[in-house]
């Protein structure tokens, strides 16, 4: 390349970076500066108009959407953006500032607790194993469940079903539901899946479309297109989790970094308050208050 050519290249690069930096400087991207926290006792504290970005677990997303909608109804001018991107992304996003509030459907692990994130447990959830509604198998034992997901049992006739090879559908890496499920059920053995599908909805749609399939979703996501299995004779629901009968349970977390802005505080207070908790319970989750 000719020597003179580096000047235009340099100009383009500098201008690109310059514009970026300027836009970054004026962007309302960073959380608004922390104001003195409003006292949570005041009913419906008047919140400044603004926007908070909430993102993470696709399981928590299912309830967070409703919570955000209700919250926005109560506070005109407030926008709560919700993103379904997976637990790990929610945790990382909260740490990096992509999300004001990160959502996770598992406990923090390994190095993550050291990041200085604040945890709010908003509820607990039963992970439900799901099959096609036409599958005659109504329940499994915990052992059978583990053997199916680790590839030891590969046909439904071994567990009282038809002579059909089992289609084991699991979630993608980074899913909190998958992490929690494998931690509780697999006992350290790697999964041997037939398919990997994306998101809570993805595996549910996969199971709904395939009579020989099995997968798992957060219990609020169980709908008539699939059927939840009983494990050791217990139904996956809030009551079983509270009674301690359902082992495949995990928390839903909100995660924040640094000081809470009034908006973030307001939203978290709403979720942890009686109305938010009632909505959570209506979704089939276990309230924490």
């Amino acid at each position: 390349m000719k020597k003179g050519m580096w000047i235009p290249i340099g100009i383009v690069v500098l201008v690109a970076i310059g514009i970026g930096v300027i836009i970054r400087a004026v962007a309302p991207q960073v959380p608004p500066p922390p104001l003195p926290a409003v006292t949570p006792q005041v009913p419906l504290p008047p919140l400044p108009a603004g926007r908070i970005v909430v993102g993470g677990s696709s399981s928590v997303y299912v309830v967070a959407v409703h919570l955000a909608e209700r919250f926005m109804d109560k506070h005109p001018g407030v926008v709560v953006e919700t993103h379904s991107v997976g637990s790990t992304a929610g945790i990382v996003g909260a740490r990096e500032g992509t999300f004001h509030i990160g959502m996770a459907s598992r406990w923090l692990r390994r190095d993550e607790p050291g990041w200085g994130l604040r945890e709010f447990v908003i509820c607990h959830d039963a992970i439900a194993p799901i099959v096609h509604p036409n599958n005659p198998v109504r329940g499994l034992t915990m052992k059978q469940l583990k053997k199916i997901f680790t590839g030891e049992i590969t046909n439904w006739n071994k567990v009282g079903g038809e002579n059909l090879p089992i289609t084991v559908i699991i979630r993608e890496a980074g899913s909190g539901t998958r992490d929690a499920f494998e931690e509780i059920v697999h006992e350290g053995i790697d999964p041997v899946p037939t398919l990997i599908l994306v998101g809570t909805g993805g595996v549910r749609a996969g199971v709904a479309g395939d009579p020989s399939s099995i997968s798992y979703v957060a219990s609020p996501a169980v709908d008539p297109t699939v059927r939840a299995l009983e494990i050791d004779g217990v139904k996956p629901d809030a009551a079983a989790v509270v009674a301690g009968d359902w082992a495949i349970a995990r928390p839903f977390l909100f995660l924040t970094m640094g000081e809470l802005s009034p908006l973030e505080q307001g939203f978290i207070d709403f979720v942890l308050g009686s109305e938010g908790q009632q909505m959570v319970a209506d979704e089939g989750l276990v309230r924490v208050d």
């Binding site: 993103h83 994306v198 709904a208 709908d223």
Partner: protein
């Protein structure tokens, strides 16, 4: 000779069959999508907001999201692409730089869209701190459609007869006067088709934006809002839903996307037909 004759017949039959197969595939795809969306597509679907995670309501915010992305990407890519195209055809000449740049554009055209997505995520979303936003997504799309604009600009400028330029120079016009008043004027329709094709590409692109615009369903309020463009909405509904309402809406969205492509192609054809007639 008889065998040659029969061979000829068979060969032509095979050629006909393969072409008709392609037509049949196209018709089957479009027919399937459009048939399944009958009953869902109406003004209400287009002009109302989605509800219940896309299972009810319309896709207004997705259409707006797509339009925002188109607006940003074409505003950014058009001037740069046209400028680049002008330089390559009118100024660069046999300069070795011109070959390098042309190859760069060709290379850019071959880069898979998911790589643009990775780049956009690392650069716009994280490094520049724009977050999941219309701006990040629009800029990634601008990078992607740039080469289309350059290529069509080059082609349509090359089609302008040399006599036009000579006449302009003979009248004492400078190079830029010639380029801007004579060459660009007659190449304008061709350049416009390039921009329109870019719009079509930006409207349908999914992989590059799924890592950069987020997926928030509400109407955008600023350049830094996250949106869920139609293509991404279709993807998210398709992989995650079996609810009949959501599937019907997915088909509706797919039909609108195909319709958009159809409009883009039709307008390109119309412009080109006028243009070639005018040049003659």
């Amino acid at each position: 000779m008889i065998s040659a004759h029969i061979n000829e017949k068979i060969a032509k039959l095979v050629l006909w069959i393969s072409s008709l197969t392609i037509l049949a595939i196209l018709l089957a795809i479009i027919g399937f999508v459009v048939m399944r969306s009958i009953g869902i597509i109406n003004l209400e679907f287009i002009f109302s907001m989605p509800r219940a995670g896309g299972r009810e309501g319309g896709i207004l915010s997705m259409i707006i999201g797509t339009l925002c992305l188109i607006a940003i990407s074409t505003t950014v890519a058009s001037p740069i692409g046209i400028g680049g195209g002008i330089y390559l055809t009118e100024y660069a000449g046999e300069h070795p730089l011109s070959k390098i740049i042309t190859f760069g554009a060709e290379w850019l055209a071959g880069v898979p869209s998911i790589i643009f997505g990775l780049f956009g995520f690392a650069f716009f979303v994280v490094f520049l701190g724009w977050g999941f936003s219309i701006l990040s997504g629009g800029m990634v799309l601008a990078c992607m459609i740039l080469n289309e604009t350059i290529r069509t600009t080059q082609e349509s400028i090359k089609a302008v007869p040399a006599s036009y330029r000579e006449a302009s120079y003979a009248l004492g016009a400078t190079k830029w006067q010639t380029v801007s008043r004579v060459v660009l004027k007659s190449a304008a329709p061709g350049i416009l088709t390039g921009i329109i094709l870019g719009i079509g590409r930006a409207a349908g692109e999914t992989a590059a934006i799924m890592l950069t615009v987020g997926s928030f369903m509400a109407l955008p309020t600023s350049l830094f809002s996250s949106v869920r463009p139609m293509s991404l909405h279709l993807y998210l509904l398709a992989i995650a839903e079996v609810h009949p309402g959501a599937i019907a809406r997915a088909f509706g969205t797919a039909t609108l996307l195909v319709l958009m492509v159809l409009i883009v192609n039709l307008s390109v054809h119309t412009i080109m037909r006028r243009y070639t007639r005018a040049l003659r």
